[in-house]
Amino acid sequence: MRITTDYVIQFLDTVAARIKEQRAYLTELDSPIGDADHGTNLDRGFSAVVAKLPTVADKDIGTILKTTGMTLVSTVGGSSGPLYGTAFLRAGTVLSDRYDLADEDLVAALEAALAGIMMRGKAQPGEKTMIDTLAPAIDALKSARAGGADLVTAVREATVAAELGMQATIPMLATKGRASYLGERSIGHQDPGATSAYLMITVLGEVVEQIAAKASS
């Protein structure tokens, strides 16, 4: 599969639209275990990204993703800003000077993004964070690819794993971020960061399906 600049822009625009749609839901999830601003903050950040994209639309994919990362860092605030910002910056660094990507490049960019989040947040799987969505999704993607699956199938499996990972945060005890001050009271709530990460993985899946549909039509 060949992923061009246009599809990267489409991915970012669609993520922004999905976050805007789900803004109230994300903020509601953030009320019992955070400070009720996850949807608002991410919507502000991705709206700024959408406003900035036309200025880099003719640049390489690395530049587009790094600009996205810097914009998120500058506009989201809180901890989601540095976390998602670092994720896009790291993915952009892996894809410097590239105008189209092969399947392996997408996997490498996702791995770099996850490593960036884990470094910035000093967090591991099982701590009720966005990592609990992203780590199993990337593992599923890689093992499907290793088993010979095409990218569409592998991303479908990643999306399923992402959803299960997100749901698995419900019974978890939060040990990172503001939710951790709640101790046992954090149990029973789905993590808002794991949820926004799931939205991004679903959008990635939709874009990959579209590219495949276009290629076969």
Partner: protein
Amino acid sequence: MVVLTMKKLINSPESLVRDALEGMAAAHSDLIRVHFDPDFVVRSDAPVHGKVSLVSGGGSGHEPLHGGFVGRGMLHAACPGAIFTSPVPDQMLAATKAVDGGAGVLHIVKNYTGDIMNFEMAAELAQAEGIEIASVVINDDVAVQDSLYTAGRRGVGATVLVEKICGAAAEAGMSLAEVKRIGEKVNAAARSMGMALTSCTVPAAGKPTFELGPAEMEIGIGIHGEPGRKRLPLASAHDILGMLAGAVLDDLPFERGDEVLAFVNGMGGTPLIELYIVYNELVKVCAARGITLSRNLVGSYITSLEMAGTSLTLMKLDDELRRLWDEPVHTAALTWGM
């Protein structure tokens, strides 16, 4: 027309941080300037050449922290975020560049996940531009008990003490490493705990952060309305101070013969007369325990919007810390000796 559903002296939730910063700039033009986009408050005489500079910052809603402590003998710049939300690295980087006098910049960071990550990114960016950066993380809140399973103890009252004492150290011409050492020493010698009689309302949310019944209080709150250790029936100032002092004194621990600085802080909605009642109770507790209260600060210096309540910070003093505390300071919120 903006329809307001809460009783606050604001024009709109969207404009309130900027409106307040503009007012601060107008009120204290002799001490500070305010830079907008990115937002930061900076000493009017910055950069001070050849001396270490101090930059702090955090969510708004804790005034006078941090902007009210910008001036001679304390901070060189402060970065205000949205209400209760960490500022972003652009602000910290711009403030750091504005105050760098060539001797390095110390970032004073309260231990909250967002603040830590944003200051880390700012430090990486500033270092990439050739500015020497060190940081001190404040984590004095004893209400967070099990720090292995949490983001760690929060930075609360000791922040004011670190900013004052490091400010004096920087003014005296100490090196970046020395000013950092002093900041860490203050943090290690200080412990705090707070309590709330009422919740507070973040303007953008429009409703109280948590619900507290008319006869209830929350012991061990943070400065963003985070939950505390426990919810109890309302009690007297004597009993409340007893709980706070007990937790604070036993944690370090402070012992018979120690000399301490006591900081009795109002959370934003508590009148000064009540803070003096709390201080009076503290005097009795310390007398009974053989602890000497040799310096004090009583007033609302690190707040949580209009929350009623108090926090107690105690710091063990030695000659070095006492001398630096007594050095002159001239800021919007704290002034003595000049």
